[in-house]
């Protein structure tokens, strides 16, 4: 019978510095592969919607303003997102990526969780359109 094997561990802990990270004060970089908030680069998007199709949580909506002119707006719901990166896998043109830096998403209301990606004017046009049709605005924003 040994008296408490853990004693050694405890004493070592006492002389060592605590392992605790001072997170809110000191912010360490996350690993480069971290799957944070989704980003969309409209440049090469063809509007194939493969990302939307396989999203397990309905977190992505691709809103086509003008298919021929390749004017799309991507509405991303960070609150629904499962951060599984299947959309990134699916995209054949590498339009989608996940930020390794934007992971502090907490907020006091849900407004910041709906993110619009696309060119300024497209988003503007879309929001106006939605406002005009206020009765059926934002399809499926609230499940």
């Amino acid at each position: 019978m040994r008296i408490t094997t853990i004693l050694g561990d405890m004493l070592r802990a006492l002389v060592r510095r605590p392992m605790t990270q001072a997170y809110p004060a000191v912010r360490r970089d996350a690993p480069s592969r971290l799957r944070g908030q989704l980003h969309w680069d409209p440049e090469k998007c063809t509007g194939c919607c493969l990302c939307v199709k396989d999203c397990p949580a309905d977190a992505i909506e691709m809103i086509t303003l003008d298919k021929a002119a390749r004017r799309f707006v991507l509405r991303y719901h960070a609150d629904r997102c499962a951060f599984c990166a299947q959309c990134v896998q699916n995209c054949r043109f590498k339009c989608l990526s996940m930020s390794s830096d934007q992971w502090e998403l907490a907020a006091k209301d849900k407004e910041p969780f709906t993110v619009y990606y696309g060119s300024e004017e497209d988003i503007h046009a879309l929001l106006e359109k939605c406002a005009a049709r206020a009765d059926q605005a934002l399809p499926a924003a609230e499940p």
Partner: protein
């Protein structure tokens, strides 16, 4: 595979008198179609010949056109899986119970009657398992034609009251309780400090995943099934992928196989260390809890570094894996494995020699090998009682075919043995990680998967950190699966915990419960275990009654 084919031949011989057709959908499988009335006789014959154990009963609704409900009784022996297939008309679904031969079938039969509306003749228990109290008794969630847009509710019965019940005192534990980080509601009747009865109500984490997968496509289902459990997420996804890939006849590149295996072992590392910490916490040994979780962060860091997420790594895609290993990851993995190995040795020393801790583990919750066999426990809980039940050994899959696993077995059957098994498995996993990295094949990560999976059925069995995980996948040839049945390792182990807790002091209960590493989000069932009034002895449990609850759970 000669052993497997010998076993299958034997199964075919046993069931010959009743078999109407024999097919072999895969090399290690045998499907025997029999008449529903012959079911008890065939099951009894298998039981008499000691051919394997009842792994699961899968129910299939074949739709209004076919007009039948099919039930598959899966028996597993080594790598061989034999299924007895019976059908019954949909309008009046009725099957004979096989509880006489396999008491463990009771819960499967209850599930089938609840989810598919099959009446079992001669089954001992027909109470609902995991649907809420106000669920309508004639809405069957897994039938194809159920209208789930309706709430399907009926007025509720008043809930049972807590507190003094007759002459016994009842201690409720859960669903919100510090000992349980997950929801499950237990009620222990105590006389003084001694537990004389135990019941559990599960279903707090029942989300209806088995139905939801039928409404989503094959890729979406991968992530849905991964989220059955946050601790063993990877192994759920892997089991599903293995099944779907078998159906699609897609071969996964060897490098992807190795990476999957690697993550399965990392997952085992973090799960076992998490368990060690939680178990220590239950014993009021917070220093060990903190130490185990501190060291576990090493594994979490590795997972995050390679996959980009600490918990749902989502490494799998259908047809391969998403993330490759860079040289720096391999270095980090080797260092991490060395560190964990060193700490695991230390913990092994600790849990075997700390005098006060040993007072809480030695001789507590003893389960003999015979008991374990009849209750039907799996995984480390079974291996702590001297039963070698490890799918990685019995039916190797993925890279385990190339890198054999040494099964870890202890024979004492008490909590201390379960501690030893899990800690020694840490060492074994570290060794496996090293071997896997040494033999890491070069090559592609993914094979292209079709969006539609050809029609068929596949079975995949894998070893989760808590024991055998059994998946049945059926495709109708479309973009969505027709049926996915997941049977998780937790409930059979949980039933054992309830049985073992009777007659023990209340203070041992959290330890015994946690000793089996229950995972309530993996399984949602109700099992009820009562003792006769006033008696605190185990003898109130006949073996028949014990066996009735020693069962595997499904989702």
């Amino acid at each position: 595979m000669t052993e497997t084919s010998r076993l299958l031949e034997q199964a075919a011989q046993i069931t010959t008198p009743w078999g109407k057709s024999f097919t072999a959908p895969e090399a290690n499988r045998l499907d025997v179609v029999i008449d529903a009335n012959d079911l008890p006789a065939a099951a009894a014959a298998l039981n008499a010949a000691c051919w394997g154990y009842l792994a699961a009963i899968t129910g299939l609704d074949r739709g209004a056109d076919d007009g039948r409900i099919e039930a598959l009784y899966h028996f597993c022996a080594g790598a061989a899986v034999a299924a007895l297939r019976v059908t019954t008309p949909r309008a009046e679904a009725r099957l004979p119970s096989i509880c006489a031969a396999y008491p463990s079938a009771s819960i499967f039969e209850r599930e089938l009657s609840e989810m598919l509306g099959v009446t079992f003749v001669g089954t001992p228990d027909v109470t609902p398992l995991f649907l809420p109290e106000d669920w309508s008794p004639d809405a069957y969630p897994l039938r194809k034609d159920i209208d789930l847009s309706q709430p399907n509710t009926v007025p509720v019965r008043p809930p049972p009251t807590n507190g003094e019940n007759g002459k016994h005192f009842i201690i409720p534990i859960g669903p919100q309780h510090p000992a349980l980080k997950e929801p499950g509601h237990f009620e222990f009747s105590v006389a003084g400090e001694t537990v004389i009865g135990a019941t559990v109500r599960l279903g707090y984490a029942h989300r209806g995943i088995e139905k939801a997968v039928e409404q989503r496509n094959w890729v979406q289902d991968l992530y849905l099934l991964e989220r059955i459990c946050g601790i063993c997420s990877h192994i759920h996804a892997t089991a599903y992928c293995l099944g779907v890939e078998k159906l699609a006849e897609v071969t996964v590149p060897p490098r992807a196989e190795t990476i999957r295996t690697l993550f399965a072992e990392l997952e085992r590392l973090h799960s076992h260390m998490l368990w060690l910490g939680v178990a220590a916490h239950e014993a009021g040994f917070d220093t060990l809890f903190m130490a185990a979780w501190r060291d576990r962060e090493t594994v979490m860091d590795l997972l995050e570094q390679i996959s980009g997420n600490r918990v749902h790594y989502s490494v799998n895609v259908l047809g391969g894996v998403k993330f490759d290993l860079e040289p720096q990851h391999i270095d980090a993995l080797l260092n991490g494995a060395a560190f964990i190995e060193e700490r695991a040795r230390y913990y092994f020393d600790l849990v075997n020699h700390d005098p006060l801790f040993n007072r809480r583990t030695r001789g507590v919750g003893v389960m003999t090998a015979e008991q374990a066999e009849t209750i039907g426990v799996v995984g480390p809980t079974a291996r702590g009682s001297g039963i070698v039940r490890d799918v990685r050994v019995e039916a190797p899959y993925l890279a385990y075919t190339r890198c054999p696993v040494e099964p870890i077995v202890e024979t004492d059957g008490d909590l201390a043995a379960r501690f030893s098994v899990r800690i020694r498995e840490l060492l074994e996993s570290c060794r496996l990680i090293r071997v896997l990295l040494e033999t890491l094949p070069e090559g592609a990560l993914q094979t292209r998967m079709p969006r539609r999976i050809r029609a068929g059925e596949a079975i995949s069995r894998v070893e989760a950190p808590r024991g055998e995980l059994f998946y049945f996948v059926k495709s109708g040839g479309g973009e969505m699966p027709e049926r996915i049945h997941a049977r998780t390792p937790t409930l059979c182990n949980l039933a054992s915990a309830l049985i073992l807790s009777i007659g023990r002091p209340l203070a041992d209960i959290p330890m015994i419960l946690v000793g089996v590493d229950p995972c309530f989000s993996c399984n949602d069932r109700t099992a009820t275990i009562h003792t006769a009034d006033g008696s605190a002895e185990d003898e109130t449990w006949t073996w028949e009654r014990l066996r009735r609850y020693g069962i595997e759970a499904t989702r």
